[in-house]
Amino acid sequence: MNKITVKICMGTTCFVMGASSLQELVDMVPSRYGDKVEVQGVPCLEFCNARTEARAPYVTVDDRVVMNATVEKVIEEIERKLSNG
């Protein structure tokens, strides 16, 4: 099974909209899923400017975009990925 990659946007909009608290995932994910899931920060996912409605913070779990991301929502998406194989 391929490793799942989680990318957290660290751009201005996402950061002030709550991405700062998503940094919890950095410790939480490896302790829960070991090396099956990798968490990365990216300078900007560039979704904020491309979409008309504000849905920051943005996180991607492989090709899926999580909008208004919270730790719970991201974990939920990881779980879904893992269970679908």
Partner: protein, 387 residues
């Protein structure tokens, strides 16, 4: 050549303000600089007012286009005399110089400056102008041509008379004593900045006092001709997207130290030049996104929030405990002499969403404010280019 100038001071023991005053102003468009060091009679508030007045008058006078010699002569002839001690209200040294190394110096009452070139002290010729109104006042006028690496050290008599009357130095440190320390320090660290050398001289003076308490206001100003250190900051995506590649290449090929402030900007450079970005989210400190890493770039930070915080630090000083990305950016800026901003003019609509919990400044405004502080407070040469 770049003129690196700075002053270090210590106030007289038990006083609550400085009795010497140092003032300098850079004129970037003409490549000129004026600096004045004035020592006010006595110490504390009175001396501070006298020194401040003298230095400010001289600077304004020269700034208004008056010949430096004439300006100094007028001030020398008009400085009042203390009724009790029968000596001038203040003494001064004025230096007027340009980036080509042409320097004019006028001294009245302060210890003679020290001219250091190639690790040696040069004693230049000067002309003496006597005061028309006061017999005991004379000014020394110098005209010099300085080369790359040359330094001028000015000090108040608090430095040269440090330790006066002590058992091991009956006449104090004196000019010669200071010269020996300065030459030794420069030999040890040939590229020492003006700021560090001035601090060193003041420390030497204080340490010369038997009880390490300044007996007089102690100031040292250093002027150093050196090659400028260039810095380039790229922030914000360019207005015309088709020019992204051109600007990215210009940025990476620049010989300056380089910083990127902005996620989209970092992505743009990474994409156009195919350089990966390494982002460390775990280390995010002080409520700012952490710095990222990119090969060939000295510093990569988030944009608006970091720039805003950096401007605050530059304005009010860094008081936090955690060294965040804004602190790093401040250090990056302060360790450069000539700073160029490449400011992308493209707007990010998302930043203007009224639902954002924090007011986000317009990039152009922050840069404008930051540039002004860097020029006025830190005497940097700043240029801003909107792209």
């Amino acid at each position: 050549m770049f003129i690196d100038i700075d002053c270090a001071q210590e106030k007289k023991y038990n006083q609550n303000t400085y009795g010497d005053y140092f003032l300098s102003k850079r004129y970037p468009e003409k490549g000129e600089l004026i600096a004045v060091l004035s020592d006010g009679l006595g110490s504390g508030v009175k001396a501070n007012i006298l020194a401040t007045m003298t230095a400010t008058m001289l600077l304004k006078f020269v700034e208004a286009g008056t010949n430096i010699k004439t300006a100094c002569e007028v001030v020398m002839n008009s400085l009042p005399v203390c009724q009790v001690r029968k000596i001038s209200y203040s003494t001064f040294s004025v230096v007027f110089c340009n980036e080509e190394g042409e320097v004019k110096i006028v001294e009245e009452g302060n210890p003679q400056f020290i001219y250091i070139s190639g690790g040696k002290v040069i004693e230049p010729e000067f002309s003496v102008i006597d005061s028309d109104t006061f017999k005991n006042r004379h000014m020394h006028v110098y005209k010099l041509n300085l080369k790359l690496g040359d330094r001028l050290v000015f000090c108040s008599d608090g430095v040269t008379q440090a330790g006066l009357g002590s058992s091991h130095l009956k006449l104090g440190l004196r000019r010669q004593g200071l010269i020996e320390y300065l030459l030794e320090k420069i030999k040890e660290n040939p590229d020492i900045s003006s700021s560090d050398l001035a601090k060193f001289a003041v420390r030497v003076a204080i340490n010369t006092e038997p009880d390490r308490k300044a007996k007089d206001d102690t100031s040292c100003a250093v002027l150093y001709y050196r090659n400028p250190r260039y810095a380039l900051i790229f922030t914000g995506p360019p207005y015309h997207q088709e020019k992204d590649n051109e600007y990215a290449r210009e940025f990476i090929n620049s010989k300056s130290k380089k910083a990127i402030a902005g996620g989209t900007t970092a992505n743009l450079i990474s994409r156009e030049l195919n350089i990966p970005i390494k982002c460390n989210i775990a280390k995010s400190a002080g409520k700012l996104p952490a710095v990222s890493y990119m090969e060939g770039v000295d510093l990569v930070t988030e944009g608006i929030l970091t720039l805003t915080r950096t401007t605050e630090y530059l304005e009010n000083g860094f008081k936090g405990k955690e060294k965040d990305a804004a602190y790093e950016l401040m250090q990056f800026l302060l360790s450069s002499d000539c700073i160029e901003f490449m400011v992308g003019a493209k707007l990010n609509q998302a930043h203007y969403d009224p639902n954002l919990p924090i007011e986000i400044e317009i990039r152009k405004n922050i840069i404008k404010k930051m540039a002004k502080i860097l020029e006025d407070k830190y005497i940097k040469k700043v240029s801003v280019r909107y792209i």
